[in-house]
């Protein structure tokens, strides 16, 4: 897929849509779960869908609904949700060198989720400048739309879907780790990078296993970066 370079800027968004397709395997089942849980918490299908449209932040939406349903003060629910999303702060600056001055980027930042960032961070540097905006628009819109429609589907028919195809909801989400693996593997260009990336992966897994999935992401990334800074192999690889 990556080898099929887009030949015209007008085709770039199609390329973005195509390359973001694997994200759907992870997004749709989780969005269906969110829709289902939101309705069970007392929201209507349209309210659940509107939350996915406006907030669009995966795990923190579950936290928000859980805290509201549990009777937590609203200010605390908002604060905790935003705290969970703080990790997104490093995504924009990491993409900045590849973004032009188009004002559209400001709007498109609404679609900068963990998964879209991972894909864009890998792909934008490989694309000609004229195609980046189109590519990102296609990829981000597909992901956003799938999240919104998945929520609506879950809110309207989540119960029935989960009962009818229980295994599908377990199998499709593996598309996410598979995609991330393909994005991380090319970065293992030396012992130093490989070790740091493995530390980051390992710490994140440990955090997730003990129930600190979201806070685990920045912690694991910081551990990986620290490892890269402190550990040096001799002789250094020339491309470092």
């Amino acid at each position: 897929m990556i080898d099929q370079a887009t030949s015209a800027p007008s085709r770039a968004w199609l390329s973005g849509v195509r390359e973001a397709f694997p994200l759907l395997g992870g997004y749709v089942p989780v969005a269906i779960s969110f829709g289902l849980i939101a309705v069970q918490a007392g929201l209507t299908a349209w309210e659940a869908t509107l939350i996915s449209t406006l907030i669009y932040a995966g795990a923190s939406q579950f936290l928000l609904i859980g805290m509201i349903a549990g009777g937590a003060p609203l200010w605390l629910a908002v604060a905790m949700t935003l705290l969970l999303n703080v990790r997104h702060a490093v995504y924009g600056p990491n993409l900045a060198p590849w973004l032009d001055r188009s004002r559209w980027w400001l709007v498109l930042m609404h679609g900068l989720t963990d998964q879209v960032f991972a894909l864009a961070h890998h792909r934008l540097p490989q694309l000609p400048e004229a195609q980046r905006l189109g590519w990102f628009t296609g990829a981000a819109l597909l992901a956003w739309t799938s999240w919104i429609l998945g929520t609506l589907l879950g809110a309207l028919a989540g119960d029935w879907l989960m009962a009818r195809w229980p295994l599908l909801g377990e199998i499709l989400p593996f598309a996410l780790p598979a995609l991330f693996l393909v994005l991380v593997a090319p970065r293992c260009t030396s012992k130093r990078w490989s070790l740091a990336l493995m530390i980051s992966i390992g710490v994140a897994m440990l955090c997730s296993l003990v129930g600190y999935t979201n806070i685990g992401i920045p912690i694991a990334a910081a551990c990986g970066a620290l490892c890269f800074t402190l550990v040096r192999f001799t002789p250094e690889a020339p491309h470092e």
């Binding site: 406006l54 997104h88 199998i171 499709l172």
Partner: protein
């Protein structure tokens, strides 16, 4: 939904957008100030390291299977292996994901057979 709840949702939506947007604006201003410098070089070292490490961390949390039993870990291991083998041979994004999900799914389906 009550008005208070709507206000809370709008505040969360706006806050999340600003968390994603403001650091980008900061970095774009920094890049403009250092006009002429290569974009990557202009990025603080810690920030350029955190990008790939965040992707690796997201991989780490997504690798933990929903079912934390032997079948869950076996399916994950085989899915990872299939993904890596196809990536090594094709160096593309799509086919390795298809291979990984298929391998993972096969293990799950076989394990579910009576």
């Amino acid at each position: 939904m009550s008005n208070d709840l709507w206000l809370a949702l709008l505040a969360t939506a706006l806050g999340t957008l600003l968390i994603r947007l403001l650091p980008l604006l900061w970095m774009q201003r920094r890049l403009r100030r250092l006009d002429g410098a290569d974009g990557i070089e202009a990025m603080p070292r810690w920030l350029s390291l955190l990008g790939p490490m965040m992707v690796a961390a997201v991989l780490g949390v997504s690798l933990v299977p929903d079912r934390l039993d032997a079948i869950g870990w076996l399916a994950t291991g085989i899915g990872v292996l299939a993904t890596l083998v196809v990536w090594y041979r094709r160096r593309s994004l799509g086919w390795p994901v298809v291979a990984g999900v298929t391998a993972f799914g096969l293990v799950e389906v076989l394990a579910a057979l009576p």
